[in-house]
Every structure is written in C-alpha cells, then in structure tokens.
C-alpha cells in the first residue's frame, strides 16, 4: 500500500507545479484535470472498492454546484459555502445510499442514473431558489486578474483533489476499506460474519459524494453561471467510469492516471478533429479498453515482468 501512495503524492506534486509553466489555457485544463481526478477517485470508492456500478456522479456534482451557488447568492462566503456543501453531500448521499444500495447490479445502475434526473427536475422546478431553467448567476468570489483567477481556481480544485486522494488512500488502508472489499466479493458472507453491510455501503456512498459535491461547488464559482442541463450532465456520470476502467479499477493511482489520460485524449481529439471528435474519442476508448482491459496500472506489472522474466 505504501509505494502506490508515494506515486500518487508525486503525481499530485507535479500537477501542483503547473502554474509555474502555464498560461490561463493550461491552468483551465489543469483545473479540469483536478476535477476529473476527483470524479474518478470518488467513483472508485463505490465502483472499485465496493463493486457497485454507480452513475450518480453527475447528481453529486450538480447538487454541489447548486448548494454552493445558492448559499453564495444568499451571502455566504466561499469557504463556508464549500464546507456546507461537503457536509450536505456527505449526509445526503449517506442517507440515499442506505436505500439505493439495497439494489444490486443493473438495478442499482439505473437507480443511480435516475437520481441525476430526479435532482435535475427538482432544481428545474425550484425556480425561486435556483432560477430553474434560467440558470443561476453566482457572485464573483475574487476581483483578481484573469491569470490570478485561473491560479486561484486551479489551486482550489487541486486542494480538493489532494483531500480526495488522502481520503481514498486512508479508506483503502482501513477497516472500512477491508469491509468494502468483503462486500464486493461476497455480500451474503460479509453479512454473516457480522459486518453491517448497510452501514458500510451508506458510508461509502457518502464519501464518494462529498468531494464531488465540493468540486461542483468550485466549478460553479469558477464559471459564475450554472444551469441544470450543464451541471446535471449525464456525461459527468459516464466519464469517471471510463477513466477508472482506463486507469485500472480499484487502484487510486490508476484512476488518477486514467483521468489525466482521458482528459488528454479528449482535448487532443477535440482540437484536431472537431467534426468527428466524439466518434473518434469513443473509438480510442474502446480500443484502449480492448487491448488494456485491466487499465494503465497493468502496464507496470507487464514491464516489470519483462524486465525480470529471463532471470
């Protein structure tokens, strides 16, 4: 467990150096990279450790964006709004998790997907609070220059990513992580040895939501304007799954690498093949998953074996 977390720390440190080299464009990409990293790491708790195929990421993201947005229009400061978002996402998702995670497999996937739709409709119809389909304008959090703004939001997202990574590594080394692995392998047996599976699943769902909610909050303040179809975009649910599969299911380092590679592919393809970018990206993802089914982390094992194979 020690070595992969050192790799993860090194990776995060390298990302943190980005403002030294970057212009506002690089910083924008870096901020999205951190956001995708949070998505993938958080999804990995439920999808990787627990083995439940969750499509709820967009629901957490949109919930976080609107919670922070509404609180700030009501006059809360940014740190306070983000903290409240963290707590609200954690508690809300834990309660929902206790109910939703009674379903398994495809049924759970559909239920988590419908959570996105339900929240979108709720926000759409709570016009007084959220502005409904008109969207929500969020007050500026700083009056810095364009570059200063970019650096501020980059670091805000980076800190959220670092906290997510620390949380995920702590979970994977803890009794909680051990219990989640038990549930993934055999939920019936886990129950029979005295593991409170409902409690563990509900905590896992809460933890997978809280930092995605914070990322949504930072995103909302960063772009100043959100509307339901933007932040409750189902692609936010699908992308972390693709990233985790590309990086290596269950491995924190793997899924962060997966997030970075996915963002790289997305950006390169979008810039060079704007007409056919989504088709081409899909094709690349399919090829990667076909030829690297255990993700990028499996490359390390392969290279290692090749190195010592003939000894």
């Amino acid at each position: 467990m020690i070595r992969p977390s050192i790799v993860l720390v090194a990776l995060l440190a390298v990302i943190a150096l980005l403002p030294l080299a970057g212009d506002a464009y690089a910083l924008r990409l870096g901020t999205i990279a951190c956001m995708y990293g949070i998505f993938a790491l958080s999804w990995n708790i439920v999808g990787g450790f627990l083995g439940y195929p969750s499509f709820a990421t967009a629901a957490f993201f949109g919930f976080g964006a609107y919670t922070t947005g509404v609180l700030m229009t009501l006059g809360a400061s940014l740190p306070l709004a983000l903290l409240a978002t963290l707590v609200a996402s954690l508690v809300g998702a834990s309660v929902l998790g206790a109910v939703l995670l009674r379903l398994r497999g495809h049924y759970f996937a559909i239920a988590s997907l419908s959570l996105v739709e339900v929240l979108r409709e709720v926000v759409n119809n709570a016009t007084d609070l959220t502005g409904g389909g008109m969207g929500l304008n969020i007050p500026l959090a700083s009056n810095a220059s364009i570059l200063g703004d970019a650096i501020f939001y980059f670091y805000a997202m980076w800190i959220a990513l670092a906290l997510t990574a620390a949380m995920v590594v702590a979970v994977s080394a803890s009794k909680l992580g051990f219990g989640l692995a038990c549930i993934r392998q055999n939920e019936t047996a886990a129950n029979m040895v005295g593991l409170n599976t409902t409690l563990y699943k509900s905590i896992a769902f809460g933890l997978s939501a809280c930092f995605v909610g914070v990322a949504g909050g930072i995103y909302a303040v960063w772009v100043h304007y959100i509307d339901p179809s933007d932040v409750f975009d189902i692609l936010y649910s699908v992308k972390p799954i693709v990233m985790s599969l590309m990086g290596g299911l269950g491995s924190p380092v793997g899924v962060v690498c997966g997030a970075l590679v996915y963002l790289g592919l997305e950006e390169v393809v979008w810039r060079n093949y704007i007409q056919i970018h989504s088709g081409l990206l899909g094709l690349l993802v399919v090829l990667l998953l076909l030829f690297l089914p255990h993700g990028l982390v499996s490359l390390r094992g392969r290279l290692f074996r090749r190195g010592t194979g003939h000894a």
Binding site: K175, F178, G179, A181, C182, Q185, N186, T188, A189, A190, N191, M192, V193, G194, L195, N196, T197
Partner: protein, 249 residues
C-alpha cells in the same frame, strides 16, 4: 444445561410455499443436534430463519434469553450465532488468512485488522489450513474451502454453530477428517446444529436428531429412537435403510 435456543411456533412462507410450519424446538447448551430430512424439507430455511437471513413470518426465536426473531444477519452473528453455508461462500480474492480474519474483525467491535489476523491464524491451524494461509481462497480445493468456512465460523467465537452440509461433496477420507474436527468442537462444549445427509456421520456425532418434512417437525429425540420412527423411515430414511439397520442395537 439450560436452553440456549428456542423456536416457538416458527413459520416461514415464500409466497405460495410454506417452507416452515409451526416449528417448536428447544436446544440446550452443549447439545449436538442433527437436522435431517428430505431435500426441500426446510432445513436450510430453518437455519436462515434463526440467523436472520429470512426472518420468520410467524413465531418467535429466542437465543440466550433474548428475542432475536427480527435481528439482521450481522446482529445475530455478533450475538454468537455462526453458520457455514451449504454452498461455500469464500471471499474469493482474499487469502485464506484474510477470509478468517474478516470473521474475527467484524464479529466484535473495536478489533484491529492486525489482531484479527493473529486470531485467524489459530483457527486456520485448527482446521489444518495453516499451510494455505496466504493462498487466495479461490485456489483452494472444495474440501479446503469447506474447512475454511468452518474456520471462519469459529473465528466469530460462536455460542452456537450451524453446519449446513459440511460433508457434502467430500470423499470418505475428507469426511472422516471433518467429523473428527466436529467431535473435537463438541468435546469443547460448543452447541452445534448440523444439517447432514450422511446418516453415518449423524449417528456418530449427534446427541439428538430432529427431522423436518415439508416444513414440519415430524420427529425429535435420541438418535436410536428417531431412526426407528416409522414416520421418519417413511419420509426420509426409506424401508431399505430400516431393514439394513434393523439388526443393530
């Protein structure tokens, strides 16, 4: 010995099927009860009902003076009701050691993984799997996985142990090994309820036999009396068995 487990009027219905019908049963501490009956008689359902997997539709289950009818499986497990599964249920990716450690870890509050693993090693040694401690459970043979189930159940420090066909699918040498383990546990004073089809094992080990048929308790008593009971011969043992064993005792 006072009663440790009492079933009073326990019934369980699965929509159209009455799996258990008004079962009354009292088990005293230290008893080794053989639970027999034809396939579909409700033996496993009885164990599931006591352990909280499929709660009783009617009636009450009392364990050590406490009503446990509505408890969840994990709560029953923490009270000291342990069971093995007819179809083995290992954590396939975990090593044999970690499989047993789960039981030690989650069955009591405040355990650390390190202590649980040390604890698990003893139980693995007891069932003779110490050589396979680091092997993933998926790579063990069926006989080993059955013994792993037993070690897992024992790591929960149970007060009562339910064994659901621990000998099914084993060859005779393996059955003998497993039977020796059960005898050893019984000698230690553990209360055991075993579902078993091998009459040789039942007669060898059990102090009492309970017979289920179509969800109803049709016989309950000392092994020698139960195997001569016409209703039991009719429902389960068969005339051939009765004739073959008529000469004995």
């Amino acid at each position: 010995m006072p009663e440790i487990l009492t079933l009073a009027g326990v019934s369980r219905r699965f929509s159209g099927l009455q799996a258990l019908r008004d079962v009354n049963l009292k088990i005293a501490g230290g008893e080794i009860v053989g639970l027999i009956g034809p396939n579909g008689a409700g033996k496993t359902t009885l164990v599931n009902t006591v352990c909280g997997v499929t709660p009783a539709s009617a009636g009450t289950v009392t364990f050590a003076g406490r009503d446990i009818t509505r408890l969840k499986p994990y709560q029953a497990a923490r009270l000291g009701l342990a069971r093995t599964f007819q179809i083995v249920q290992p954590f396939a990716e975990f090593s044999a050691l970690d499989n047993v450690a789960t039981a030690a870890l989650f069955s009591r509050p405040g355990q650390s993984l390190k202590v649980a693993r040390e604890n698990a090693r003893q139980h693995l040694a007891f069932v003779g799997l110490d050589g396979q401690a680091d092997q993933p459970a998926a790579t063990l043979t069926l006989a080993m996985r059955k013994r792993l189930e037993l070690a897992k159940a024992l790591a929960m420090s149970p007060k009562i142990l339910f064994l659901d066909e621990v000998n099914a699918g084993l060859n005779s040498a393996e059955v003998e090994k497993a039977t020796a383990l059960i005898r050893q546990l019984a000698a230690g004073g553990l209360t055991i309820v075993m579902i078993e089809h091998l009459m040789k094992v039942v007669l060898n080990v059990c102090t009492r036999i309970v017979v289920l048929h179509n969800g109803e308790l049709i016989a309950d008593g000392a092994p020698r009396n139960v195997v001569r009971n016409p209703a039991v011969i009719d429902a389960y043992l068969g005339q051939q068995y009765a004739q073959r064993h008529a000469g004995h005792g």
